[in-house]
């Protein structure tokens, strides 16, 4: 895989198809990977690809909207690219997508790699990128989507759920890393930074933190592509995927929609049906 990615990157840079290839290189622990921007063929051999390449690189494309860029994309990352194209943030012809087939990634943090794949990967149906210009790896069969984690939470009593989330939100330090890592969070001014009116107070109290975490998740309803970058980067391990996946599950059930699968589909909150019957609404 790595050799194919390097060869493709070299070709794209040599022919001037792109100015930059965004991929992965070895991190300073000698074990895991980190994002890298390759601007010339001299750097191509720095590119690596293995089980530690967990980052979703697609957000970096927003820093290079007007430039031609190649990017290494796993299936979930490719959905993020579709999302950005769908929302008019990115032009398809500026991006060259080197898609990689994915069998699920382990939990990776600095100097640590788990043996088992991540939970979310075990539940992820996409094994092949949904959009690419060049595919690396042998296509494998898609898996069924399951939401057993969300269902477990749904089936807990309200007090238990409330207690669980208050404890999680109480730990939040509001560094906003979840937002910064999210490819879907690109507002020029985030609601949390607005001062007039101030939606989220400066106090980092559980009540203000709840405001931040719930609205952040809801702003991604029908948009989250389950790359789980938010949860991966969270320094205090708030299980944000449980919030995002609840919305993903309901959006799928109510509107038969999955974000980022196709770049053209109109997202559920941009449209409506006059005579639809939605669960819980008269």
């Amino acid at each position: 895989m790595q050799d194919k990615i390097r060869a493709k990157a070299r070709e794209l840079l040599e022919t001037g198809t792109v100015d930059c290839v965004i991929g992965y290189e070895r991190a300073t622990d000698g074990l895991t990977a980190r994002p890298v921007f390759i601007y010339g063929t001299a750097g191509v051999d720095r590119l690596v690809f293995d089980q530690t390449c967990v980052h979703n690189l697609s957000k970096f494309l927003l820093d290079r909207r007007d430039k031609r860029t190649a990017i290494v994309a796993k299936p979930c990352d490719s959905r993020a690219i579709n999302l950005l194209i769908n929302e008019g943030q990115l032009a398809r012809d500026k991006v060259y997508i080197i898609g990689v087939v994915c069998q699920g990634m382990p939990e990776v943090s600095w100097n640590r790699v788990s043996k088992e794949p991540q939970e979310r990967c075990q539940r992820c149906p996409q094994r092949v990128p949904v959009v690419y210009d060049y595919l690396v790896g042998e296509p494998v069969e898609a898996l069924p989507v399951t939401f057993s984690d969300v269902e477990q939470m749904e089936n807990a009593g309200p007090a238990e759920r409330r207690g669980f989330w208050l404890e999680q939100f109480g730990r939040c330090i509001r560094c906003h890393a979840c937002r910064q890592a999210c490819p879907g969070c690109y507002c020029s001014e985030c609601f949390v930074d607005q001062l007039d009116p101030t939606w989220v107070g400066i106090r980092k109290d559980v009540t203000d933190n709840e405001m931040w975490n719930t609205i952040r998740a809801f702003h991604l309803a029908g948009r989250c592509i389950s790359c789980n970058e938010c949860e991966r980067v969270c320094p205090v391990s708030i299980p944000l995927s449980l919030l995002n996946r609840k919305l993903e599950k309901d959006v799928g059930e109510f509107f038969d929609f999955q974000a980022g699968i196709k770049a053209e589909t109109v997202p559920p909150f941009a449209t409506f049906k006059k005579d639809e019957h939605l669960k819980g609404v008269e």
Partner: protein, 148 residues
Amino acid sequence: MAVGFEPRVVGFLCNWCSYAGADMAGTSRMSYPPNIRIIRVPCSGRVDPLFVVKAFQMGADGVLIAGCHPGDCHYTEGNYHMRRRFALLQPFLDYVGIEKERFRLEWVSASEGKRFTQVVTSFTEQLRQLGPRKDRELMAAKGVQRAV
């Protein structure tokens, strides 16, 4: 049911139908529980999920959104958008432990003064049955540290 508990309800009422409906209830001297604090919005579609979560953060026991009946929106489609948003937001808030019984979407037209009083009465009663929110107790039980 907590003794002496009076729920605090925030009602976001669309200017064209539901607010007029509330007005109608008032001018017709129909009575409804004083628990509701009404915020007039141009359209039910104007209600951002932010408003709802903010109301709960500020201590509301229940939030009501009332707008024109489907098909009657002054802006043609605002209430259809709200309907979708509500369909997703209500179970989501329930999921984080703000029970779905605390959050309602109702259609009330300008002529439905009676219906407005019924909605507010039944909602207030429902919240009274549900009792106050237990956030403080739960935080204490979970050892959640508050900002100083």
